[in-house]
């Protein structure tokens, strides 16, 4: 077994362990909540004691805590998420379309911003001290540091309310009754609703990529290998391309990490735009104390991060010769 394979195996084991711990933390936090998950149901509906006992038995809440924990673990890890209390349908049936809706908004936005902002950042770093550099840094700093819901509110006020260029809320207009994903997403109406949240997401993440790329190029500018390239007679752009390629690793790693945190990073964006994604669904579920839905959604978010972290570490160890995979930091 090579060093790299051993590193990979160890990192995989850690990820599995981490998933177990994260899932257990979620279990503890949820069981700490006041009252039983059915309090809302009992107080709102007209259930008698017998029905309550029956429902509790149905959800396994009458069993001892350790049994509940084991049941919870096995069901979560086999993706059997149970039934949503308030929507009375399987949790997965509720979450799946929401998950797709989130992905279709956030993944293209992240990819777009990673490419465009990195290129802009490299160019800005190469032209150190230029107007473009200053302006791009200030504007992306403003966009990155302002909480995303405030940017979203500004965009809604300007582009939806005043200029009336795009609708402010939802994913499709109220009258639309699409059937299936293709009909939902392949339409002008969807594109119309897509514009604003997409733009806000792209701008929100632009700052990190821009700065990573810019700092990478600035650091490389004085280095020996670029002097060689200059001596060889390469043009400015060719030199920049080589400096840029050498600062790709942090950007790639950062992209992977961001991809994992994609569901949790833009919950408020979905809330403000009423985008029917997993983040907004989770906030609603927490407010309505719909536990099965909450634990499934949090689990999916946690799993995404764990997998992305794994990918980022492996990428880093694979590509960067200065970080040894076995010794030193030992991962």
């Amino acid at each position: 077994m090579t060093k790299f394979q051993r590193f990979l195996l160890k990192r995989l084991a850690i990820s599995v362990l981490l998933t177990l711990v994260a899932v257990s933390v979620i279990f503890v936090v949820l069981r700490l909540l006041p009252g039983s998950p059915f309090e809302a149901l009992v107080t709102s509906g007209n259930l008698n004691q017998e029905q309550i006992t029956e429902i509790r038995a149905m959800y396994g809440l009458d069993e001892p805590m350790w049994r509940q924990y084991v049941n919870y673990l096995t069901s979560l890890l086999t993706f059997q998420f149970g039934y949503s209390i308030l929507r009375s349908q399987p949790v997965w049936a509720v979450l799946e379309p929401r998950l797709i809706n989130s992905l279709i908004l956030l993944v293209p936005a992240l990819v777009t911003t990673a490419i465009l902002s990195s290129l802009l950042g490299m160019y800005a770093g190469w032209n150190r001290g230029s107007r473009l550099e200053k302006f791009s840094i200030v504007s992306t700093t403003l966009l990155r540091s302002t909480p995303v819901f405030i940017t979203a509110i500004f965009f809604i006020i300007v582009f939806a309310y005043n200029l009336e260029l795009a609708p402010a809320l939802g994913m499709r207009s109220i009258r639309a009754t699409p059937d299936g994903y293709i009909e939902t997403f392949a339409s002008l109406d969807f594109l119309h609703h897509y514009l604003l949240p997409f733009a806000v997401a792209v701008l929100y993440y632009s700052g990190d990529f821009l700065l990573l790329a810019r700092n990478g190029v600035v650091e490389k500018r004085g280095s020996e290998f670029l002097k060689l390239h200059r001596a060889k007679g390469l043009t400015e752009m060719e030199q920049l391309a080589r400096a840029g390629r050498n600062s790709m690793l942090p950007i790639l790693t950062y992209f992977t990490l961001r991809l994992g945190m994609i569901f949790q990073g833009l919950i408020l964006l979905e809330v403000v735009f009423s985008w029917p994604g997993i983040g907004r669904e989770l906030v609603l579920a927490i407010q309505q104390q719909d536990y099965p839905l909450v634990q499934a959604a949090v689990f999916i978010m946690a799993l995404a991060v764990i997998l992305a972290n794994l990918a980022a570490d492996v990428l880093y160890a694979y590509f960067d010769p200065t970080v040894s995979a076995s010794g030193g930091g030992s991962a």
């Binding site: 994260a22 700093t141 819901f149 509110i153 946690a302 930091g329 030992s330």
Partner: protein, 306 residues
């Protein structure tokens, strides 16, 4: 007696030395216009946070703005009676804005400092020692990374009554992972440098090497992430308040935005949206700009040929 004064003199000397260091650290403010502008905004914000509630012309929640005939001013544009207009309940927006700076300041300052200090310590210790210490701390970091901040914070705040210090603690408990990871990766490369190795070889203890040789070299990034921590904490607090999980006893900018958003008056009441939104955007951006200018001055690699 004489030993007493000697000690005093020694103390003064030390305080002086610390003061000079602090002044040196802030010298970049004079060079960078953006950072200087950011500093002004931060100063204004700190002033608002300290004295805002006393400056407010009315109580932000109790007082209702009324006209001469006793009718309630609901959702009126800025006027002589209410400089920033009124909310849909007839409350004074200016008073809410002034009073709302304080929770933002408290959470931002302490959340940011907590994040920076915790993350820096974890990062240095983890990166310096390596081995099982590093393994343990980094897996802990991974754990806080994987537990999604916003949902976990919302869950915790549903069964504990939200108050400002609890929110600060939750934010720091979730955000320290950011500086920790970055500081650690810096330490990993510093640790391999010759001067650290020679310090170890000449018999310096682990603690001494960490404090005097490793930490100063990663301090800029620690400071930078403390500044980012302040901005993140403010953003997180505003986001929580916007979702309705803020401190219910305090008016905050995030809560104002929640009220205007939930009441559906965003389309008309620009005077109700702008003050809190601009306030939050201005303070978070300023803190970031200061942090960034600091990075430019301190980081020798970015300085290369200028």
């Amino acid at each position: 007696m004489s030993t007493g004064t000697e000690r005093e003199a020694e103390v003064y000397k030390r305080v002086d030395a610390v003061w000079t260091t602090v002044c040196d650290q802030f010298a970049f403010l004079r060079q960078d216009r953006l950072a200087f502008g950011g500093m002004l905004v931060v100063a204004a914000f700190v002033f608002l946070g300290l004295f805002g509630p006393f400056l407010a012309p009315h109580d932000p929640i109790e007082h209702t703005v009324r006209g001469g005939d006793g009718s309630v001013f609901r959702l009126t544009a800025p006027s002589a009676e209410a400089f920033f207009g009124t909310t849909s309940y007839g409350k004074d927006v200016l008073s809410q804005f002034l009073a709302g700076a304080r929770p933002t300041l408290i959470v931002g300052l302490f959340g940011g400092l907590g994040t920076g200090a915790l993350g820096f310590t974890v990062g240095v210790v983890s990166g310096y020692y390596g081995g099982w210490v590093d393994e343990l701390l980094m897996r802990l970091t991974d754990l806080t990374f994987s537990l999604p901040f916003m949902p976990m914070a919302l869950l915790l705040l549903t069964f504990m009554t939200p108050n400002i210090w609890l929110i600060t603690a939750i934010i720091a408990a979730f955000l320290w992972k950011m500086p920790a990871r970055v500081v650690r990766s810096e330490v990993l490369s510093v640790r391999e440098r010759t001067f650290v190795k020679s310090a170890r070889a000449s018999g310096a203890s682990d603690l001494r090497t960490m404090l005097y040789h490793v930490a100063p070299n990663v301090l800029p990034i620690g400071f930078l992430y403390t500044a980012y921590g302040v901005a993140w904490a403010i953003a997180a607090q505003a986001s929580l308040a916007f979702l309705g999980f803020g401190d219910p006893t305090m008016t905050s900018w995030g809560r104002m935005l929640r009220q205007v958003f939930a009441s559906g008056n965003m389309r008309v009441a620009w005077w109700w949206v702008l003050p809190p939104a601009v306030g939050i955007a201005a303070i978070t951006t300023s803190v970031f700009l200061i942090g960034r200018a600091y990075e430019e001055v301190i980081n020798p690699e970015i300085q290369t040929d200028q």
